[in-house]
Structure formats: structure tokens, C-alpha cells
């Protein structure tokens, strides 16, 4: 057993209101500069929708992630040697047009225009070339456009649905959508790491954060193709790739990452998970439908004394172990089993989990009037959002997996409704708990964690122990007036 710690996250989609505060917080902190305008390390998509970059989930086109080739796991974009052969022109690299060309407006024209009969206008200009351009895409261009026949209709998940199911999605007055915030998943079997020819991308051993060593990156751009979530971005001015760093400098100072801290809906949870790194490959080789469950299986119980002993032996600090025990992510994913990874079938073992949205699933049938728990659950079959669509997103097509989560979420609703509104029989509540296989205490805990917790319980940043880092053994006097500010150069092209 090779126990490692991973800073993992849960996004509770029922609580996401699609306000993009997370995206803006991230942009202001990390990507507010020339060449990074188009990058959204954190973005919020509308589902059904094509997302950012357009149709990123369609790996038949983008070739991201892994696939099984015999008994081996191989990048979908090809083996290592063929990857090197493609180094002069990456066949699977999306261009800026598949994201969007950043633009601004010539505001100065508004004030500088000579007097005339017409109102002066501010023409849009490209932030790449500075030339006038036609704006045909932008950040969150398809925001809330569910039902649109360009964006929602081309969602790779929707395309797979039957005609009937599609009609169910797009019928007037039944239109439905939810928001999907996305950051880097800091995968255990990361496609970007696996595809980087320079070996510049790595997973930090202590916390599992996936980073790109900017000094080692040579701009071969394979990571952009290798990541099925399209969460590494090529910096077209610097010739280096960049990605979400899970705000590790903030975490090292004990702060929550910016997108977590700023989240208005408080949908974001962060905590440490312990897992067995020796199992990564075996889990990634499972059948599509088993992947979500297998990934849950490999997460270890931090309360188990034997695991604790093994973790300490593997060099995981006691403070980190304590953080793992307090981890809300462990509860969501493992204890309660109500959070699922996004697209596990990409086989990267993403460590960002989603609590699937309940409201758009149920709100059609129940106008708050259904009595029988049985009725509640049967609505799953003809829910506004087809289970098949959700299973395609969160469980590699395994509908049972998604339904199990929904049953628990519904049971929470029923028990809380019985407690607060009081129009539910106790028998119904008990029946609901039985169907969902969840205890009354668990329901209360889920309810509290979902609705009532303090930021320190939602976001349990483990101590990063930088004081024990390798470089901390060097006398600071050695680098006096060399390190810190001025040592790092500005991220722009100089040669």
C-alpha cells in the first residue's frame, strides 16, 4: 500500500446559482494579463450546453484522456513515440476559435470622435491582433441558453439521448438547465501529466495538486490535448502552458482557494482524501460503468487506526491526517456517497466531485404535493433531466449510480420536510430512508453540511507544512536579496 494525501473538492450543484463570482475571483487573481485573457481556470457552464471550449466533452474530436489498449492504459491521443512524432504540429490541439478570441472595445473613439450627425460607437477589437473583429463567441457565450439549437442541442451528452428524451429536454415550458462550475480536477491519473513530453507537469506528492513547472515547460502543447477537461491552457504570448493551481500559495497560507472563498452559493467544499496510489492504474482500467464506484473504493478511511498507522509510515504528517478526518469531501464522497466525479470514463480519476442537482430533476412532477415516498422516487424515471444524461455526466453511463445518489438526496428532502413543514408521515420518512439506504443521523449531517456550516467546516485546508519543505533546510541568509520579489520574472516574452 502506498498511501498518499490529496486535496480534493466537492461542488454541490443544487446550490450553484451560476453567478460566475468564482470565475471572476480567479481571473482577477491569476489570468488578468496579456495572453491569458481567454483562459478561465475556473469557468461555469450551463448544462445542457456545449461548454468551454466548445464541445470539450467530445473526445472523438479532442482525443483527451485515456483509453484501454489491451491490458495497458494509453492516452487517447496516441502512444509516447507517436506523440513525439506529432511534436511539430499537434493534430489534437483546439485553436483559439474553439474557446473564443478575447476582445475589447475602442472606448476612446467615444470621446475622441469629431462632432458629427451620428452617435460615435466603440468598435470591438481583438485583444490578440488589435484589429477590428466580429464578436461571435465569448466567455460563457452560451450561458443560460439551454434549449438553444446551437448550444444545448450540440451538447455531446444530449446528442446521445433518444429523440424522445431530447424532446423531453427542449419542450417549451419544460426547458431545464443547471450550472456546472469547472476547475482543474487535479486527477490521480492526470492526462496532462501523462502527455507532457518535457516532464514539466507534475503532481505534488504531499497534496496532489497538479502543477506545471514553468521553467521546464517548452510549449509542446500536448497537455492541452491530453487533458479531457481542457483545463490546461496554452499561453500564446509566453509559449508556456498554464493551469489551475488550486491557489496553492493561498492554501499554504491557510486560506481557501479564491474561487472557494468567493463562492456566493457556498457550493464548494475542500478537504483531504487519503488513497492508495498503488491502485491508480488498476482502477483506471475498470469498465466505464464501474469507474465511479471503483474510484470511491480506493479512498481510504482516515478514522481506521490501521490506515492511520500506514499513513504515518508513508510520511503523511499527523496534522494532515487530522485534516483528513475533518474532511467534508470524505463525508460527501465516501460516507454519504452523494458526490460523483465528472466524466469518470475519461479515466483520469478526477478528484473534484459533484453533488448532482436535485431541483431540475424533481420540480416538474412535485409541486410540493406528492405524498408517497414511492411517488417521489418513481419521478426519477421520467424526471425533467433524463437520468441517462446525468449518468453520462457523472457515472460513465451507469444510471444506477446516479439514481442511488438521488434517492439519498430525496430522502434528505423528505425527512427535512417532515421536520420543518410537518406534512409527511413518519412512516413515509422511514420508507424513504430504507429505499435510499441512509440513516436519520446521516440525513441530519448531510443537511447540516449542505445548509448550515461555517466556512472552516466546508473548507478544511490541510496544513501545508512549508516550514518542513526541503528548501526550508537552507539558511535564508544564503539567498539574502536574491530570493523573493525580483527573482521570478514577469510572465511575458523577452527573447
Amino acid at each position: 500500500m502506498n498511501i498518499r494525501a490529496q486535496v480534493s473538492t466537492v461542488f454541490h450543484l443544487d446550490k450553484c446559482i451560476g453567478c460566475h463570482t468564482c470565475s471572476v475571483a480567479c481571473k482577477n487573481l491569476w489570468t488578468d494579463r496579456k495572453g491569458a485573457e481567454y483562459m478561465w481556470w475556473n469557468n461555469v457552464e450551463t448544462k445542457p450546453g456545449t461548454g468551454y471550449p466548445t464541445k470539450w466533452e467530445d473526445q472523438e474530436q479532442y482525443k483527451g484522456g485515456w483509453e484501454r489498449s489491451g491490458s495497458q492504459l494509453q492516452l487517447k491521443m496516441g502512444g509516447k513515440a507517436s506523440s513525439l512524432g506529432k511534436i511539430f504540429h499537434n493534430p489534437d490541439l483546439p485553436t483559439m476559435d474553439d474557446y473564443y478570441e478575447p476582445f475589447t472595445f475602442k472606448y476612446a473613439d467615444l470621446t475622441n470622435a469629431p462632432a458629427g450627425k451620428d452617435q460615435p460607437t466603440a468598435r470591438p477589437v481583438s485583444m490578440v491582433s488589435g484589429k477590428p473583429m466580429k464578436i461571435e463567441a465569448g466567455p460563457n457565450w452560451d450561458d443560460d441558453l439551454s434549449g438553444s439549437n446551437i448550444y444545448a442541442a450540440n451538447d455531446p451528452g444530449v446528442v446521445q439521448l433518444s429523440e424522445e428524451e431530447q424532446q423531453q429536454l427542449f419542450a417549451i415550458e419544460k426547458m431545464v438547465f443547471f450550472h456546472l462550475p469547472r476547475i482543474c480536477n487535479h486527477c490521480l491519473n492526470a492526462g496532462c501529466v501523462g502527455s507532457c513530453p518535457s516532464g514539466a507537469i507534475y503532481k505534488r506528492g504531499e497534496d496532489g495538486i497538479v502543477l506545471i513547472n514553468q521553467d521546464k515547460c517548452r510549449g509542446w502543447r500536448m497537455c492541452v490535448s491530453g487533458c479531457p477537461y481542457k483545463k490546461t491552457y496554452y499561453g500564446w504570448t509566453t509559449g508556456k502552458s498554464e493551469k489551475c493551481i488550486l491557489c496553492y500559495p493561498r492554501q499554504e497560507a491557510g486560506e481557501a482557494p479564491a474561487c472557494f472563498h468567493s463562492c456566493v452559493g457556498r457550493i464548494r467544499y475542500l478537504g483531504v482524501l487519503l488513497y492508495d496510489a498503488d491502485q491508480i492504474e488498476a482502477v483506471a482500467m475498470k469498465e466505464d460503468s464501474e469507474l465511479a464506484a471503483a474510484q470511491r473504493e480506493m479512498i481510504l478511511d482516515p478514522h481506521d487506526p490501521q490506515i492511520q498507522k500506514a499513513a504515518l509510515k508513508a510520511g503523511i504528517a499527523e496534522e494532515v491526517l487530522a485534516a483528513a478526518q475533518a474532511s467534508p469531501v470524505y463525508k460527501f464522497v465516501k460516507e454519504w456517497g452523494i458526490a460523483l466525479p465528472l466524466h469518470p470514463e475519461f479515466r483520469t480519476l478526477p478528484m473534484l466531485f459533484y453533488v448532482p442537482p436535485l431541483l431540475p430533476v424533481l420540480s416538474m412532477e412535485n409541486q410540493g404535493s406528492q405524498k408517497m415516498a414511492e411517488d417521489f422516487f418513481t419521478t426519477l424515471e421520467n424526471a425533467r433531466l433524463p437520468m441517462r444524461y446525468l449518468a453520462g455526466l457523472f457515472a460513465g453511463g451507469n444510471e444506477e449510480e446516479v439514481k442511488a445518489v438521488y434517492r439519498r438526496l430525496i430522502a434528505v428532502r423528505i425527512q427535512r420536510r417532515s421536520a420543518t413543514v410537518g406534512d409527511m408521515d413518519e412512516a413515509e420518512v422511514v420508507k424513504a430512508r430504507e429505499i435510499a439506504k441512509v440513516s436519520s443521523e446521516q440525513i441530519e449531517a448531510i443537511y447540516r453540511m449542505t445548509a448550515l456550516t461555517h466556512i472552516k467546516q466546508r473548507i478544511v485546508v490541510p496544513p501545508m507544512l512549508r516550514d518542513r519543505a526541503i528548501e526550508a533546510g537552507i539558511d535564508p541568509e544564503t539567498y539574502k536579496q536574491e530570493m523573493g520579489f525580483g527573482k521570478r520574472q514577469a510572465p511575458k516574452r523577452r527573447w
Binding site: 502506498n2 492504459l73 509516447k80 513515440a81 506523440s83 513525439l84 511534436i87 511539430f88 504540429h89 499537434n90 490541439l93 485553436t95 483559439m96 478570441e101 481583438s126 490578440v128 491582433s129 488589435g130 491519473n189 492526470a190 501529466v193 501523462g194 507532457c196 513530453p197 518535457s198 516532464g199 507537469i201 507534475y202 503532481k203 505534488r204 506528492g205 504531499e206 521553467d215 521546464k216 515547460c217 517548452r218 510549449g219 509542446w220 502543447r221 492541452v224 496554452y234 500564446w236 504570448t237 509566453t238 509559449g239 508556456k240 508513508a314 510520511g315 507544512l465 512549508r466 518542513r468 519543505a469 526541503i470 528548501e471 533546510g473 520574472q489 510572465p491 516574452r493 523577452r494 527573447w495
Partner: protein
């Protein structure tokens, strides 16, 4: 005198610049070490430029290198008119391909607004120097046949004399202008190497083949493993 400067002194200057500035840049500004790919901004034309360019120029450079390093073996290889003819035809075809590819690349840089925006003066200098290099090379191969053969007995000894720090410029002094241009421009490109995006040629990531897919880096010393 001018020949001495161009072919007896400048090569040393070029190599010194390439090594010294290259090492300086690697040590103090490694962040700048990149191919500066513009595929993200324009992909289609780049394919028709970059792919034929790189593969053809690599093969041509390999031939130059082999003929320099192993002149007698190269001479023996070409010592059969059939083989000589085949290799020359192949070489000229590859050379013509590099010219076509370079024209595509130059046109793309000039015509595409986005790509033009990320092109520096050094990039233009580099592109033009490369175009001069491949054009003069093909011109030599076509008009001064068989370049692949006489290279062994003129250029190779000149290069080896440079290696031995006793430059024998007489090998080049009597050569036609176009050959001199090709030889000088080669060292000019070498001198340009550390100042341009050309640095990417020395970061071929061959170690990728042998390393495991996943890379884990620890920031703490671990006693366990």
C-alpha cells in the same frame, strides 16, 4: 582578409555566442526557453509549413552532420554513381520541400493578423535567414552538382580545421559566392540560436519515451520511501 574574418574568425564568434548566451539564457531565464508555437492561433497553414519543414530540414541537417563527422564513410557511400544520384535527388527534393514550407510559414506570419501579432523582429530575422539558407542550399545542390560529394573534400576539412583551431580558409576562399553565403549564413544562424526561439532545437524531449506517465514531486524530504 574578409574571407579570414568570415570563415576563420566568425565561426568561433558564432559558436562562442551560441554556447555562452545559450548557457546564460538556460541558467538565468529558463522561463523563456520555448518553441513559441503559434498553432493555438492558427493551425491549418501551420501544418503545411511546420510538418514538411521540420522533417525535411532534420534529414538535410543529418546528412550535413554525417558528411562532416564521417567524411570517408560518406565519401564511400557516394562512391557509386547510382547511390550518389539517388541521394542527391532525395536531398534536392527535401530541399525544395523546405523552401516551399518556409514560404508557407513566412506567408502565414505576414498574412494572419493573430500570428503577426506574436512575431518579433528576431523571428523575422530568423525566418529570413532560414529562407536564405535553404534557398542557397538548393541553388548550390542544383547548379554546383554534386554538392553532397565535394562537401566531403572541401567543407568537411574546413570544418575540421576549425575544430582543430587552425582554420584552413583556402578551402572556401576560392568557392563561388553562393557557397560562401551558405557557409556564412549557417554560422549566422548558429549565432542567432541563443537569441531566438531556435533554442527549442536543443530541448528534444526524448526522455519522455522512457519515463512513466505520471510524475510526482515531493517538496518535503521523505523518510518512508
Amino acid at each position: 582578409m574578409i574571407d579570414m574574418i568570415l570563415f576563420g574568425v566568425f565561426p568561433y564568434v558564432a559558436v562562442a555566442l551560441a554556447v555562452a548566451v545559450g548557457i546564460y539564457r538556460y541558467c538565468f531565464d529558463r522561463y523563456s526557453w520555448s518553441s513559441q508555437s503559434s498553432q493555438f492561433l492558427e493551425s491549418k497553414a501551420l501544418f503545411w509549413g511546420s510538418v514538411p519543414w521540420h522533417y525535411a530540414i532534420l534529414l538535410i541537417l543529418l546528412a550535413h552532420l554525417l558528411a562532416f563527422l564521417f567524411p570517408s564513410a560518406w565519401g564511400a557511400l557516394l562512391g557509386e554513381p547510382g547511390r550518389l544520384y539517388f541521394l542527391e535527388v532525395t536531398g534536392i527534393a527535401l530541399g525544395v520541400t523546405t523552401i516551399l514550407a518556409m514560404l508557407v510559414l513566412i506567408f502565414r506570419r505576414a498574412a494572419n493578423d493573430r500570428v503577426c501579432a506574436v512575431t518579433s523582429k528576431v523571428d523575422w530575422a530568423l525566418l529570413i535567414a532560414l529562407l536564405i539558407q535553404v534557398t542557397s542550399g538548393v541553388y548550390i545542390a542544383v547548379t554546383l552538382r554534386w554538392g553532397g560529394f565535394w562537401y566531403v573534400h572541401t567543407v568537411s576539412p574546413w570544418l575540421w580545421s576549425l575544430v582543430g583551431f587552425s582554420p584552413k580558409i583556402q578551402y572556401l576562399a576560392e568557392m563561388p559566392f553562393i557557397v560562401k553565403l551558405h557557409a556564412f549564413n549557417a554560422f549566422f544562424l548558429l549565432a542567432l540560436f541563443p537569441f531566438s526561439r531556435l533554442v527549442h532545437v536543443v530541448s528534444v524531449p526524448l526522455s519522455y519515451i522512457s519515463r512513466p506517465y505520471q510524475v510526482v514531486v515531493w517538496y518535503r524530504q521523505r523518510s518512508g520511501n
